[in-house]
């Protein structure tokens, strides 16, 4: 007897759940995925699935937009730069500690 293989996605959110969790509209979420600002997986049926960590990313997108009036392309750029700075700062701190 065969069993259907079921992909368990308990850690992920579908588009509607993600929009609900972030207080945003699914159309906006879809647009941000197209712009490469949010990362999502697409399943066989073409539905979007979001890792929990993307909720934090969405929060930052909202704050950067509200704080600076950035458009979404600029939000993507600023977000990438902030991530790179965080990595560099962590490396710098690590090097500082090792050299002490």
């Amino acid at each position: 007897m065969g069993y259907a293989l079921v992909l368990v996605r308990s850690a992920s959110l579908n588009l509607e759940a993600f929009a609900r969790a972030t207080g945003t509209h699914p159309d906006l979420v879809r647009r941000l995925v197209t712009l490469g600002i949010l990362e999502a997986d697409r399943d066989a049926a073409g539905d979007l699935w979001f890792a929990r960590s993307q909720v934090t990313v969405m929060g930052r997108v909202q704050r950067l937009r509200a704080g600076f009036g950035l458009n979404y392309a600029a939000v993507g750029l600023v977000g990438d730069l902030l991530d790179r700075i965080a990595v560099l700062e962590a490396a710098l701190e690590e090097a500082r500690r090792a050299g002490r």
Binding site: T22, G23, T24, V55, T56, M58, G59, R60, Q62, R63, L64, R65, A66, G67, F68, L82, A90, E93, E94, R97, R100
Partner: protein, 315 residues
Amino acid sequence: MPGAPRADRRDFYEVLGVPRTATQDEIQKAYRKLARQHHPDVNKDPGAEDRFKEISEAYDVLSDPQTRRRYDAFGPGFRQVPEDVDPEAFQRSQAGAGAGAGGFGGGGFGGGLRDDLGGINIEDLLGGIFGGRGFGPIPGADQEAGLELTVEEAFEGGHRSVTLEGPDGRRTLDVRIPAGVTNGQRIRLTGQGGRGSEGARNGDLYFVVRIAPHPRYRVEGRDLYVDLPLTPWEAALGTSVAVETPGGETKVKVPAGTSSGKRLRLRERGLPHPRGRHGHLYAEVKIMVPAKLSDEERRLFEELAATSTFDPRRR
């Protein structure tokens, strides 16, 4: 407390660091510069959110010439003054009252004006740090603060009371320190970061652990290094020495013929690992000689020097 007026509200011009005569361009420039420095996604310091909020409030008021005129005339309580009161007429009346004339009189708005915002919290009006600007609910940002621990605290874990300056004044947090935290690790306090607006969730507060320099231990990851001073004869003949570790005193066996710089490993006597191998403690041998020799010691060393063929510099 949310809803309570803040008694320490600073002058909006002071907040933006501009003179009262500043042009709209100067106000805009000062705001943009400060906002870039203190935006909670750029600056993870827990105090930055408070500062950003203050800057945003100041800019909200001063960037609009109409509101700015009213702020200049009526001061921080300007929102309490009815819209139809003309700022210039009010200022003339205030100047007149000072000179003994009538006009609006001292008691006209006095009660409301003196009481900061008269019990209205500006955050209620603005809807939190980002709220009330048509962006909907916006979650709070994560924040980071440093937490310096002693080697002993990192070894044992426990609780530490930490006081932070926040938007509601000082707050004291009870931080649970898991045994075995090391440099650079982050302790998360859920929901204690930046505040979300309009019911959105709060960010988390992370304490980034830094282990303070210790007079005896050097920390590398979870491994600890400690000096082990030995006399020349202990090092040559071997011995067993008591070594202090964060977990208590223990004995280390020094094999005969141990030279300076040799590391003696005390297995898993370093910082504990909650889910893996504990760190080791390395005792680093350091051979010490007496700064002054007694006559007898000198005689014995001279005898040894004459007898021994050992040459550590021989190639």
